[in-house]
Amino acid sequence: MTAPTSIKVRSLSKWFGSWRALQGVSVDIEGGACTVLCGPSGSGKSTFLRCLNGLEEWQTGEIEIGGIAVGDQPRALTRLRRDVGMVFQSFNLFPHLSVLDNVTLAPRRLLHRRRKDAEEQAMRLLQRVGVARQADKLPAGLSGGQKQRVAIARALAMEPKVLLFDEPTSALDPESVKEVLDVMIELAKGGTTMVVVTHEMGFARRVASRVLFMDKGRIVETAEPEAFFTCPCSERAKSFLADIGPP
């Protein structure tokens, strides 16, 4: 296995009009580990995550993933995204394709895999996330938790080195949340670099190797989960944890 892919961010700033969403964020994200990004809504955590694979453009600063700069040159960006999977809050499955086709589309069209090979791989992944029985259904026929697990399988089908999760459980009912978190816990053990924006503090505490706390476009606190949850340093993190309750 190759060395896990780490992410380096240097003084990243982004403005939406005159509003500065990211205020010079610098951070090193460890490869092969799960990093949880939390903070109050509007703190810029989703924006930050979306900058990592170039879905969001930024104005100043640099991002490097595995030593390769994330830039605005379309071809290079597309190439880089092959190694960076993403899971969205609203799943964003392709509604016109079956579950199986959702998973095989990218490997077939982008990696030019044969249909049979792509489908075998897809079935393995669907098995792994526990929705193999839904393979022939359209996304409309699935529950929220199943959809999100299909979305994870879809991201995994490109065999990414980094996985970004943008509030993957926020649109789910409590029961489905557990289904999805179980899959993510399983993934974290596998040694993929994971960056997870989430409000699931239980997950952060159990799985994360590090917690980044963001507020007003800055990373205010970086800590091991145990330290973060038992005695957060910053006042802002204290009041945030008090508001959302103990994990």
């Binding site: 694979n53 879905l55 499955l93 016109h96 589309l105 982008l110 979305a151 991201a155 649109a171």
Partner: protein, 365 residues
């Protein structure tokens, strides 16, 4: 206001209902009478009193329709002045689209993608080569001999097949982030949409040759086809743009995140959803386009309508305008009916699942 409980189809029930709603009863009976009377008049004229075989007008029963006129002229109405010995070529061109359509509509047919690709790329080229000949041992038939339904189909299908890809490109350019491209496209679309089709056709026949390099000539049907294509692509582009805008941003983002580039994102993810979403609008445009082909008569082409009009002045068959135009109307109606039927079947197949999904995920997007 409830109907009496005995309002079933028994004599007393019907009577009770009629007494309870006198106005509605009067209206129903009146409309029924008008409908029956009209149906009777039409059937009497078109079938019972009609003449199917005759040598000229005098041989027809004046009380009924003179279909003999239409039957006599049917080959000409279908093929125009296309030489008789070569009409098998025209038959193939005319029958290929419905055959392809039937194949593509068959449930679970694996080759649908190929049929659609073939219909858009191979058919126009093959049809043109087959009709005009001059190669493969086929004799050359100049395009001024094409006419009737054949010409209508060529212009109609040709304009659709050419304008559809153009419209897709226009719709994409219309939504482009590049300002120059976007404004140019808006200008192009507004120009063609802002002009009456009659003016477009005159312009394309009179002005287009001025822009062509010397020695390079396009036949009159070709010029009319060009004008009609540009005109209809502007309309279609706006329909397709509506479809593109109805596909959520999340779809594009998911595709980009999977490392699809722009064109592949459009081809595999956005376009299939966008086109499905506006299928009724597209079919609407196609029907309008098909009927708009009748305007080619003003640049001197003999499409179905014009060739029937021309035949009305035949001395042996004078005064049969009603029969002629009813025939043309029925043909056009049949085509449009089939088109809208095909569209509603496709919609029923697709919309169920797709819409449901949009409702389920829509709240979080």
């Amino acid at each position: 206001m409830h109907a009496p409980s005995s309002s079933r189809l028994t004599p007393s029930g019907v009577l009770a209902t009629a007494r309870a709603y006198p106005f509605s009863t009067f209206l129903t009976v009146g409309l029924l009478y008008v409908a029956l009377w009209l149906t009777w008049r039409i059937v009497d004229w078109a079938v019972i009193e009609a003449t199917w075989q005759a040598g000229d007008r005098a041989g027809c029963n004046p009380e009924g329709a003179c279909w003999a006129f239409i039957l006599n002229r049917l080959p000409q109405f279908t093929f125009g002045f296309y030489p008789e010995a070569e009409r098998w070529r025209a038959w193939i061109v005319l029958l290929a689209p419905p055959a392809l359509l039937l194949l593509a509509m068959a449930p679970d047919f694996k080759g649908r993608r190929w049929i659609i690709a073939g219909g858009f790329i191979a058919y126009p080229v093959a049809a043109l080569a087959l009709l005009s000949g001059g190669s493969l041992g086929l004799s050359h038939v100049p395009s001024d001999q094409w006419g009737g339904l054949l010409l209508t189909m060529i212009v109609g299908i040709g304009a659709f097949v050419l304008s559809f890809p153009l419209a897709i490109l226009l719709a994409l350019a219309r939504l482009s982030k590049l300002p120059a491209l976007r404004w140019l496209t808006i200008g192009f679309i507004d120009f063609w949409r802002g002009m009456p089709l009659v003016a477009v056709l005159f312009m394309s026949v009179i002005m287009l040759p001025l822009f062509l390099p010397p020695g390079f000539e396009i036949s009159r049907p070709g010029l009319a086809l060009t004008g009609l294509t540009l005109y209809s692509s502007a309309y279609l582009a706006e329909v397709i743009r509506g479809g593109l805008q109805s596909v959520g941003r999340g779809q594009t983002e998911a595709a980009l995140a999977l490392s699809f580039g722009f064109w592949r994102t459009q081809t595999y993810i956005v376009m299939p959803q966008a086109l499905r979403a506006v299928l009724p609008g597209i079919v609407n445009s196609v029907i309008a386009l098909f009927k708009d082909t009748t305007y080619v008569m003003i640049v001197g082409l003999f499409d179905l309508l014009n060739i029937v009009t021309a035949a009305l002045s035949d001395a042996r068959w004078l005064g049969l305008a009603t029969e002629g135009y009813v025939f043309v109307g029925v043909i056009y109606w049949l085509f449009c009916f089939v088109l809208s039927h095909v569209s509603s079947r496709l919609e029923a197949q697709q919309s169920r699942v797709v819409r449901q999904d949009q409702i389920l995920t829509g709240s979080t997007q």
